[in-house]
């Protein structure tokens, strides 16, 4: 995974994968899939960019790709869906990318919520979070549109809740699991983003959450960096840390807040960790 903005996601994801025995290799010579931009300039380009990365994957002899960013996950899956359903587009794309691009696209949540992985996560627990109640925010593109994403319940997904509960984290029911935080507008229309983020913070606060768990670097950055402005604009105090679900699991496995780079966040959480006692 690329980008300094999400180094803590990458680091915690790799730590969790190592503990549960999931082997990951980086796609050689990968380039940006253009998600969030290229597709809105040209559908051909927006389809060819991700599929070219899949050709590189197949060249490595691999055919499953774990894509931690839902925006990229969605772009890869949409590209495959589009060439499957639009013969004309497929012909053009195949003139551009050289080689087989068929591969399975998976978000880490899809892998970690398999029954064998849930058991491995529960087994590897070393620390618990005292008094921490979390709401899981899945965002837009992990489940939508369902024909493309083919993952979890489209309006009320459960996989992140399952994975975090296996790690001993208490998760709450709430109404904004798949609301939109407006991350794609964060650079261009801050006013809309502040309103959308406010609705999410308020819903989390209403159910008594202490933190929001996310599975998307764009959601994390957007919610975390806009929280102060939302508080200012709406004269409310939220102080809700926005944590990657992998950071929580990695800490449950015994890593320290420093190991998972909690200080990189704008709203820095004050977590109380205790050792898992026998039988807990």
């Amino acid at each position: 995974m690329h980008s300094a903005t999400a180094r803590e996601y990458e680091r915690s994801l790799l730590a969790v994968a190592r503990v549960v025995g999931l082997e990951l290799a980086e796609v050689e010579n990968w380039h940006c899939c253009g998600s969030g931009a290229a597709h809105s300039v040209s559908r051909l380009l927006g389809t060819a960019l991700p599929l070219d990365n899949l050709v590189s994957t197949r060249r490595m002899g691999l055919d499953e790709v774990v894509v931690p960013c839902p925006s990229c996950f969605s772009r890869f899956k949409s590209a495959l869906h589009e060439v499957e359903n639009e013969p004309e587009l497929r012909t053009q794309v195949e003139e551009i990318v050289e080689g087989d691009y068929r591969a399975e696209i998976l978000h880490p949540l899809q892998v970690f919520s398999r029954p064998s992985m849930l058991a491995a996560i529960a087994n590897a627990r070393k620390q618990t979070f005292a008094d921490l109640k979390v709401v899981c925010y899945y965002g837009c593109l992990l489940t939508r549109p369902p024909k493309v994403a083919r993952f979890d319940d489209v309006e009320y997904p459960q996989s992140m809740d399952d994975v975090l509960r296996a790690a001993g984290v208490q998760t709450l029911d709430w109404s904004c699991k798949t609301a939109c935080c407006g991350a794609s507008l964060t650079v261009t229309r801050k006013d809309i983003v502040v309103k959308l983020c406010h609705d999410i913070f308020q819903a989390a606060k209403d159910v008594g959450a202490d933190a929001i768990a996310v599975a998307c670097p764009l959601c994390q950055l957007n919610l975390d960096t806009r929280e102060e402005e939302v508080e200012h604009e709406y004269e409310e105090s939220y102080q809700l840390p926005i944590l990657y679900f992998t950071q929580l699991i990695a800490m449950a496995f015994g890593l320290s807040p420093g190991d998972v780079m909690l200080r990189k966040h704008f709203v820095v959480p004050d977590l109380k960790l205790a050792e898992v006692t026998a039988g807990a």
Binding site: A4, H31, V41, R43
Partner: protein, 220 residues
């Protein structure tokens, strides 16, 4: 398929917004409804067909139920709701569609597409309209959004992988938004959220893809 008509735009008209200024709020004049007054045919049909061709979506199956509009997180801020926009595409109202704010404010959240009972890929239609507007060089009503798209693609062409700091600087210069979010940007720098130097790995492959897809689009 093209040039079909749906129900009235009136039902989903946003209140007190610029729909009026664009002449879309229906007023019955001398017993003639605005739809009867619209000249549907010729160019308008060609526009509907163009949107259908670029998006691969049959817009005429939309029966104007309003479900896409009721779930849309940004329709409060736009000039048309997604429902109205689809209706305008059905009617082939090219200028209203290409000049609308909504097409640029759409966050691509896919709620509309997911919930449509007629399986209309509304977000796909909006994306196609964006592409058509950029190709036709229609001056966009929210110019920062297409500027950001274009700058992102040049960033990929240059560096292969996103170089965020370079993209932000480029975007700020070309959209003349030097001061907005300056404080946030410098806090992000301090938190180590930007790489200070770009990586060029993957750039040759990305440029090859961009060059080839442009060549195909020029000839088709």
């Amino acid at each position: 398929m093209a040039g079909c008509t749906g129900t009235s735009l009136e039902e989903h008209a946003p209140t007190g917004d610029s729909a009026d200024a664009l002449g879309l709020t229906p007023q019955i004049v001398n017993g003639v409804t605005p739809e009867q007054a619209l000249q549907v045919g010729g160019e308008s049909v060609a526009f509907t067909e163009l949107v259908e061709q670029v998006s691969g979506v049959d817009v005429c199956v939309c029966f104007q139920c309003g479900k896409c509009a009721s779930g849309c997180p940004v329709s409060y801020a736009g000039d048309y709701t997604p429902t109205q926009l689809i209706h305008a595409v059905q009617l082939g109202l090219r200028d209203q569609v290409l000049r609308s704010k909504t097409i640029w404010l759409c966050s691509s959240c896919q709620i509309c597409t997911t919930r449509c009972p007629q399986d209309v890929d509304v977000a796909g239609v909006i994306n196609a309209v964006r592409i058509i507007a950029q190709r036709a060089q229609v001056s966009p009503s929210v110019s920062s959004v297409p500027t950001f798209f274009r700058k992102s693609v040049s960033n990929i062409a240059l560096f292969g992988r996103m170089y965020e700091l370079g993209l932000m600087a480029d975007f700020k210069v070309s959209s003349r938004r030097f001061s907005e979010d300056l404080g946030l940007g410098s806090r992000m720098l301090r938190k180590g959220k930007f790489s200070l130097l770009p990586s060029f790995r993957g750039s040759r492959a990305a440029r090859r893809i961009i060059r080839r897809s442009r060549a195909i689009e020029r000839t088709s």
